[in-house]
């Protein structure tokens, strides 16, 4: 009996040994006022020298020396004037060695960490949608939300059916406003700041109306900077906490960003007006450590595919390559 008790105690101690405290923690957004870091940056809440970066630029993936895209064009045998295009492509996040070096240098300088540890953010979900140039902006295809490593590639296939040859040629050869891929990224983190404050909604609306539009990332941070001094009254012990809290609060009020077309360009963000914030939005209270997710977006304009990817286009009706058969 005694031996069993001893065995149980040792087993328990052994269990503690097997699963020591790791101190793994969530990460919170850190500010990059002068945009020296070409990524969205998060900092580990328990390990101050650990940073996680989130690339917000995506492009068509490349392997074996070429971009991973293919377009097949074919017509309805009964209506030869109308064609269908089937597009298959892959995308990947962009993080060049120049960008990564710049990020490491900026983190060392800004945060005084001689040996920061930088790695890609772990908890990120992505979703791909494909758009033509139609208004209102409705997707030609939308993928599912999926989690994947930031260094991975993802694929999508979609069809543009029964359009005139001229219309398809216009979509494939437009330098801007042809096909676009929106990559939405949902990053999970926690709120860094803790503060209470009073919001002056009249002033905030006035500033919002003047601005008109804001995109996630550096542009949003700038908007926060522009408005915090004139539209927020608070007495925090740490002003940076008030800023973080205000930033979280304002995101919550704006809701998820969406796709807008401004001057023939697709932009992912929030349209602002003089009525964006309601009078009841007059106070904020944000707690440190609360779960928090932010949406970011990357718009990949496929551009003039007839020029840039002619060898990836095939007319399966006549076997010709490129867009000549559409002219």
């Amino acid at each position: 009996m005694k031996a069993l008790r001893v065995g149980a105690i040792i087993s328990f101690l052994c269990t503690l040994y097997l699963y020591p405290s790791s101190g793994t923690a969530a990460a919170y957004r850190v500010r990059d006022a002068d945009n020296a870091i070409p990524f969205v940056l998060f900092r580990d809440s328990d390990q101050p020298n650990a940073f996680y970066f989130l690339p917000t630029t995506f492009s068509i993936a490349a392997s074996q020396g070429s971009q991973r895209i293919g377009i097949q064009i074919y017509s309805d045998p009964k209506i030869k004037s109308q064609v269908t295009a089937s597009v298959t492509l892959s995308i990947a996040a962009v993080a060049t060695s120049t960008q990564l070096t710049a990020a490491a240098t900026a983190v060392r300088q800004k945060f005084g960490t001689t040996e920061p540890k930088l790695g890609p953010l772990s908890r990120v979900s992505t979703r791909m949608s494909v758009f033509g140039d139609a208004t209102p902006i409705t997707p030609l295809a939308t993928g599912r939300w999926m989690t994947s490593p930031l260094d991975s590639s993802q694929s999508i296939t979609f069809t543009v059916s029964n359009v005139s040859r001229r219309e398809l040629l216009r979509l494939l050869s437009a330098d801007a406003g042809g096909f676009s891929i929106l990559v939405e990224l949902q990053a999970e983190g926690i709120i860094a700041g803790a503060a209470s404050a009073r919001i002056l909604t009249v002033q905030l609306n006035e500033l919002s109306g003047r601005r008109g539009f804001v995109t996630p990332g550096p542009d949003f941070e700038k908007f926060v900077d522009e408005t915090i001094d004139r539209a927020v009254e608070g007495t925090p012990t740490d002003k940076s906490l008030l800023r973080d809290s205000y930033s979280s609060w304002i995101r919550q009020r704006l809701g998820p960003p969406s796709l807008h077309r401004l001057k023939d360009k697709l932009l992912y963000g929030w349209a602002l007006s003089a009525n964006t914030f309601k009078p009841e939005d007059s106070s904020l209270r944000v707690l440190i450590g609360f779960p928090h997710s932010e949406l970011f977006g990357s718009v990949i304009e496929l551009g003039n595919l007839c020029r840039s990817n002619a060898t990836a286009i095939l007319n399966v009706d006549d076997g010709s390559s490129g867009c000549d058969s559409l002219r």
């Binding site: 031996a3 065995g7 040792i10 087993s11 052994c14 269990t15 040994y17 097997l18 699963y19 020591p20 793994t24 923690a25 969530a26 809440s45 940073f51 074996q64 991973r68 293919g70 377009i71 097949q72 074919y74 009964k78 298959t88 892959s90 996040a93 990564l100 490491a104 040996e115 920061p116 930088l118 790695g119 772990s122 979703r127 997707p139 295809a141 939308t142 599912r144 939300w145 999926m146 989690t147 994947s148 930031l150 991975s152 694929s155 296939t157 979609f158 069809t159 440190i288 450590g289 609360f290 779960p291 928090h292 990817n309 060898t311 286009i313 095939l314 399966v316 006549d318 076997g319 010709s320």
Partner: protein, 461 residues
Amino acid sequence: MKVSIFLCVLILCSFGKAFGYPIQDAVVGLPNPELVTVYPDEVDKNLYYFLPTTVELVRDADGKPRLGVQYWGFTGADPGGLGAALTFSVRPAFDKIKLQQVADAIKAKNPNARWAAIPVICSRMNVILNSQFFPDNQTINNVQSTPLNNVPPAPLGPVVTIGTPPATPVAPASAPEITPAVATPAVPTSLCTKAGPRSNVAAQGGSVDSTQAFSIAINNIGARAFAIKSSSDMDVLGAEYTYVFRGIGTRLHAKITVRTKRVYEHFKARSSGNAWWGLVKTSWSADWQKLTNDGSIKVEFLQGGSTVSEDYMMEVFKSLVSAKIAGTGMFKPELQPAGISNPGAARMGWGFSGGGGWEKLDETNNFTFEIQKQALEEREFSVGLTFSAVCGKYPNNFADLTTVGNKCISKTKFEQLSKNVEQCVGKKLAVWKSRLDQGLITQTTWERESNLATTAPCYGT
């Protein structure tokens, strides 16, 4: 007996060593970073895990892809009509160059560093191929997983799921759960147990070096897309690999203070008459939001922090429910409205009846407790890549079953063939159209016959 105790300890310790888990939020960082996701092991500080980040065509020792396309009926009349069969093998893959750079950097810091692929507990491989490229009668499963916002997605290009996923389990079948000092370990419902066509991950098992073979029938358009010798850089086929692995989730250590009077006030305002207040899981979320926003429930983070709101919310919820059932904490009997008739309280132990007993509570009478937990979590990742699996790129992998010895369909030959086919189809359509115009056939007959004319082989001029 001593020997048995020793053996017990030895077995337990070595068992644990063998079954460490990757720490899912502790991506290994470097002074000079690379866009490569590497997880450290929870137990073995020298062990690092890497993940599949893409998919590739399987190749043999000579670099030749495991790809075969046989087509018929395009270079002459064929008893089998028009069609093709596509067979290929894919597998998960990594960016080996980047991974090597990271491995070298970690080795420089930790000479004892070792590497392992992430232990996959279930996986699925899908083919990405446009819906118009395979026959109508082929089994097709569209991607229908519910996105995070629970809004059904617009139709994505169809994904064909054919064949069985790899089945080489490499993870422990029954993983030991973490035993935290204070709280209950929480392993969510496994992502691998879902079944059916809407399953996120269809099959148990799989490993990051398993290959998966597919064989797909392709129709007329699809066959031409693959076999015409033009556009050698054109992607027409892809694969998506979805895998689930288990790892250590975020550590959470938080102090929760429930400001009793405010919480009572909140629920009293929501109640009417003798209605019972709250503590129903389905309605707790909205209450939680309000109570934490206005400070009625205060959460202080002592270590870590979960990104999942429910981690805190449900712990508080469970504690309140437990306290209510046991009559402890804020539900101690002395907090009940003294001398007030409360039929609800008589049945359930506590309730509002419009009485004033609860008013005696004050701000100092708080209910405080700590959450300290760390659990195993499953994570599902999906990666995909498209390939230039066409004859212009891999002519030796193509075979024309009609003109034996031929590989690709040459552009010149195809142009001539297309003209012939077009003329042939045109003649057939003209005949049926004329009959329709003369009222000799019905509209239904016209539609049937014209469809047949455009889909059936037609080679005559």
